[in-house]
Each structure stands twice: as structure tokens, then as C-alpha cells.
Symmetry: C2
Subunit: 361 residues, 2 copies
């Protein structure tokens, strides 16, 4: 075996070792095609099978009924920030947003750039986005209500989703898609850049309901219309084939090796629990997110001072732990524990952090 | 060794075997990082090195001076069809296009969708796009003059580029970028979906000159502005990392193994020459492109009837040759001979075609 580190990257992030091994083993000859998977035509029977299996698995895992379409669109979540208001904001109706951090803020900016009428329904900016808002009123006359289900930078996550009656929810689930099961029914659309929980970078997975597709204005550029992707099974032009291939293998791993989303959620809760328990029982480490808003995916914490934080990150690197530096915009430390991060890696990290406290605290 | 076919796919297409082997060999542990290349943060020193080396190599291979920026933008050439008029068509000046086939036509449509004033300067539609127009007049008052340097579907290629004086040329080089050397000076921008000559799908490479960047309207969505990508070294958000990594390795292969663009061009001319000579000396096979407009990259030909064409493609498949079916919109046969296709593969194909003629002709 190779010398693999404990990878706590925020994204691109750790991927399941068995999936990486499968990619490596078939890399020169995909299923007796005589070609690498990256040399296959996207119009071939092999790639058809790859993309269709990825879609079927996503539909099974998320319990999607026939009204939902699974699309693959390049440009990550940031391109979705622009496509959502362009396609889904209905004339004369406002586009409503919940603001829980950097990515929500960017989604809001992109709607405003397009001159859409944007309403901020609730925000946690008053406390530096360290919590998830509660008790706010939503509007029944909005085009949609947009929220970011997990906030990678601040380490917060919606444990229960906002309720907006008949107004469709639209959610950026880039950093927690397929970490747990949930009821899709209130959602008009969810989307996720692949590079955290479900694959490498290079594609967003977009799940969109029939009635939302009907909103797409005919006049948009082809590559910015959801209908272009829905009508052509995401192959109006060449998609990001390797990304979709890897997503397909990871969905298979979640379904067949892990045992589905309930099992995935149990593992994710166990991992986060180990870290939060350790932090809560320490006077040296302090979590930064409000306890009732804590993320299962990104565990953010501080040490008594910045110098110690730098030393922790450095020493961790020397001891085989990667990705523990907080986002450059906020500092501190962060351990991202996406689907592919193992319980063993989290246990090893906690042991290392205890050692570090003993020697430096 | 594995059972690799002779791959004549039109894209995604054959890639150099040594590059595929390098990817496989370091797939679980990229340069002692302890991570797969698809698990690296795009903000890491490893990925910085990958993207910067790709840019430096592209600049050396194409002799780009400091005014040119090399960007990586997701969405393929089709997204560029929309971004070009959005960013580069100046108010009050027309956007001029040369129409040489399906992809040019799409580029024109996307400019028209945006309500830009589009002029078609020349077209080969009268003869089913089987030739490259000559002797046309360009306008000195245009925003840009756009052309498709190689037409994958019809098998034609500009052997000498159009001249438009001070009007910047903008070219879709998706299917022939880095197949030969050329003078970059008349070009304001060139772009290429990676999945033919320089890598797997998932990113376009965009080369754009300083003065073109100044045209970007401030009011555009962030992900649709060239300035967003130029200002952030293509990392405003997470780029398609695996695609850029593979591009970087392929540019290295062109530079160090092949010996640069002049050597690459000699090999490409030799490959195309073998196939065209064979076709021209046969009464059974007939090239479809005008001789003075023939592509080095996509060699299109017909057999005496469609039934024979189907049998050729089928028998070729059984004998280890892939990708010989013409584009679904035109039928016939096509052998794509991009950079990574070897002379040996082309020789083997010609032998197979001669055998086929003997047994079926």
C-alpha cells in the first residue's frame, strides 16, 4: 500500500480508497473497451451506461420520484449561483434567500447582479455566521427560497430544513449532499459541486423538478438553460466524463458498500460526535459554531492563540494529517469529515490533538 | 500490457499511452502527497504547481508573449460560444463570423440569441460545408472575426488563417489546437475544449489577450466574465482539477517526448498523408472534403454505399479499430487522427481498409 495521509481537506477532499483503486486498476482499459475511461466517446454505449447508472443511483439514494431530473453541469456551484436566478426567478416575484455565510452571500450577489428583486428572509451575519437562523417568516409569493444546507467555512449546517409552504426550496448542498437522507418533496431544485461528498471537481450535480424546468426563459443562451441539459440527458455537448464516472463509482460505494444513506448518516454522526465530544471536553480547543447549528461535515475550532493554531497545522502535516487549516477568510482550524473520511482517521486525529494539547498546552 | 484498441474517436479521443500510464502509476499517491491527484485541494502547493506548469508549457509551445493569458474554463467550447459575444462584442460594432460547419453555426446562433449584430462574412454552406472559403472581404469595423479552425464533422481545416487587419481574430481550435505551430499575433482569443487534442473533457483552454479582457462588461455574472478567470488564475472557484492535471501532462509530452509543435506537425502531416494517399489511390474509398481544405485531424470518407460503410465500421470494431463511424448528422466514415494517434495505428488502419476493399469491394 501507498503512504496515504489522513485527509481532512475541505474540497477537493478525501475519496474512498476502494473507489480510487478501482479507477487505477481499470484506467488503461475500461471494461474491455480497449480504451481508458477518459478516451471513451461520450456517445458510446460505455459512457451511456456510466451516466445512466449515476442517475439511477442518485434517484434511488434520494428517493426521487419521476418528476425529478438528475443533471450534470460544469462550472461548480458558482455557475449555479448565476443560472438559478436566470432560470427560476419568475417576473414579478421576488427571489428569496437565507444568508448563512460566504456561499449564500455569493449566491445572493449573483441574483442581484442580474437585477432580480432579492429579499433576505433571515441572516446570521450579526454573529459572524456562527449559527443557523430560526423562527423567521417566509413569504408565500416568492419565486423560490434559497439556502445553503451546510456552510463549509463557518462549520454550520441546517439540521432541519426551512419550511416555505408552496414556495419551492432551492438548496446548495455542495458540502453535504448524500451525507444523510431527507424528504425531497419541498425542493424544486438541489445542487452540489461534486468535489466534497460525491467526487472530484469538474461538475455540479443538479436535481430539478419538472415544474421548475417550465420556468426557463426561451431567450437564454443554450448552455445556461436547465432545459438544454434536461432535454439531452446532460449531453448537449461533451460533459465532464471523468467526474461523472467517479461520481457513479462513489454513489455505488455509498449504496453497496456503506449500505445507503441511513448507514452513511450513522457513520457521519459518529465521526462528528467523536470530534465534537473531544473538543467539548477540552479547555484547550473550542468549537466556533453554535452547538445547535454544528455541521456534521466541517468541524471548525480554535486554539488559545494563532501561533498554536499554526503549530498544530504544521505538526499535523508532519504526522500525516492534511487539510486542517481553516479557510483563509476566517483562520483557525477545520477538520472536514465528508462521506469518505474514515472513523479511523477521525480517531487518529483526536489522539493526535490530545497529544498536541499535552505537549504544547 | 492491456488490450488497447486503435482509437480513432472524434473526441473524447485517444490520449498518449505514456501519459495514461503516469496517471495510473501515481493515482493513489500524487508526488508523495499521500493523496490522489483528485483529492488535492486546488489551493495546495501541488495543484498550484500543476496549473502553473500547464500555463507555462502552453505559453512556450504557442510562443505567447506577456499580453496573453491562459485560462481554464468549464463548459467546453459551447459555453465559449455564449461567453464570446457577451464579453467581446463591443456596443455599436458587429460580431463577424465565418461559417464553415456545425460548430461555427452554433457559435453564430449563440451570438444571435443575445441580440448581437452578427454578420456572416463567408460561408461554405452552399456545398454542404465541404470546403474552406477563400477570397472574401473582411470588415475593419468589427468587434472580432470568429472562425472554427478545424471542422471535425466535415473534415475541413483552415490551412492559412483568415486575415482581418486590426480586427482581432477569435478562433475555436477545439479540434486542432497544438497540432501545428502558428503566429498568435492576429489573435485576440483562441479557445479549445480539451477532449480532442490536449486532454480529457471537463475544461476549455482559453487564451486571451489583455486588450480583449478590457472589453468585459462589469455587469456580467461572475462566472461568465473572462476577467474573473484572469484575475484569479482560473481559481475563482474550484476548477476541473483532473482535466487540468492531464492537460499539463500532455503538454509536457508534446514538449519533451515529441519535441515541440514543429515535430508534432510533422507527425500529424505524415499520419494524414498516409490516409489521404491511400484514399486518393482507391476507387472504393472517396474523401468528402475539397482537397485544398482537407483536415489533418479528421479524415472523412465514403464507401460506395451505406451498407458497406456500416459493414466497415462493424468489421473494424471486431478487428480492434474504434471510432470510425462518421458524425451522426452526416453519416459516412471518419478517422480522427489527433496528436495522440500513432503512425502505427494509421498504418494498421490503412492495411485493414485495403483488406476490406479486397474482400468486400
Amino acid at each position: 500500500m501507498t503512504n496515504r495521509i489522513h485527509n481532512f481537506n475541505a474540497g477537493p477532499a478525501a475519496l474512498p480508497l476502494p473507489v480510487l483503486e478501482e479507477i487505477r486498476d481499470e484506467f488503461l482499459d475500461y471494461k474491455d473497451s480497449g480504451m481508458s475511461v477518459i478516451e471513451l466517446s461520450h456517445r458510446s454505449k460505455w459512457f451511456d451506461d456510466i451516466i445512466n447508472k449515476a442517475i439511477e443511483r442518485a434517484k434511488r439514494l434520494l428517493n426521487l420520484d419521476d418528476r425529478y431530473h438528475v443533471l450534470f453541469i460544469q462550472g461548480g456551484a458558482s455557475q449555479q449561483f448565476c443560472m438559478i436566478p436566470m432560470n427560476l426567478a419568475v417576473d414579478g416575484k421576488s427571489a428569496d434567500y437565507l444568508n448563512t455565510g460566504t456561499w449564500s452571500t455569493k449566491a445572493i450577489q449573483e441574483a442581484r447582479i442580474q437585477g432580480k428583486e432579492v429579499r433576505i428572509i433571515a441572516s446570521s451575519e450579526d454573529k459572524d455566521f456562527s449559527y443557523i437562523p430560526k423562527g423567521f417568516q417566509t413569504n408565500s409569493d416568492a419565486s423560490y427560497l434559497h439556502f445553503t444546507s451546510n456552510n463549509t467555512i463557518k462549520g454550520t449546517q441546517w439540521s432541519e430544513f426551512p419550511q416555505a409552504g408552496d414556495v419551492p426550496l432551492v438548496s446548495d448542498m455542495s458540502s453535504d449532499i448524500l451525507c444523510r437522507s431527507f424528504d425531497i418533496k419541498p425542493f424544486g431544485m438541489i445542487y452540489a459541486g461534486a468535489q466534497k461528498n460525491i467526487g472530484p471537481s469538474g461538475s455540479a450535480m443538479v436535481i430539478i423538478r419538472d415544474d421548475m424546468l417550465e420556468r426557463t426563459p426561451e431567450s437564454l443562451p443554450s448552455m445556461l438553460k436547465y432545459t438544454t441539459f434536461a432535454d439531452k440527458n446532460s449531453m448537449y455537448n461533451t460533459p465532464s466524463c471523468f467526474t461523472i464516472y467517479t461520481i457513479s463509482l462513489i454513489l455505488k460505494w455509498i449504496e453497496e458498500t456503506i449500505g445507503g444513506l441511513d448507514a452513511m448518516e450513522r457513520i457521519n454522526r459518529e465521526k462528528a460526535g467523536i470530534l465534537y465530544d473531544f473538543i467539548d471536553n477540552s479547555d484547550f480547543y473550542a468549537g466556533t459554531a453554535a452547538k445547535d447549528s454544528r455541521s456534521l461535515m466541517n468541524i471548525t475550532f480554535r486554539l488559545p492563540n494563532e501561533d498554536l493554531e499554526k503549530r498544530l497545522v504544521k505538526k499535523a502535516g508532519e504526522n500525516g494529517f492534511g487539510g486542517l487549516k481553516g479557510h483563509r477568510s476566517v483562520g483557525g482550524c477545520r477538520a472536514s469529515t465528508y462521506n469518505a473520511t474514515t472513523i479511523e482517521s477521525v480517531q487518529a486525529l483526536v489522539e493526535f490533538m490530545a497529544e498536541f494539547e499535552k505537549s504544547e498546552g
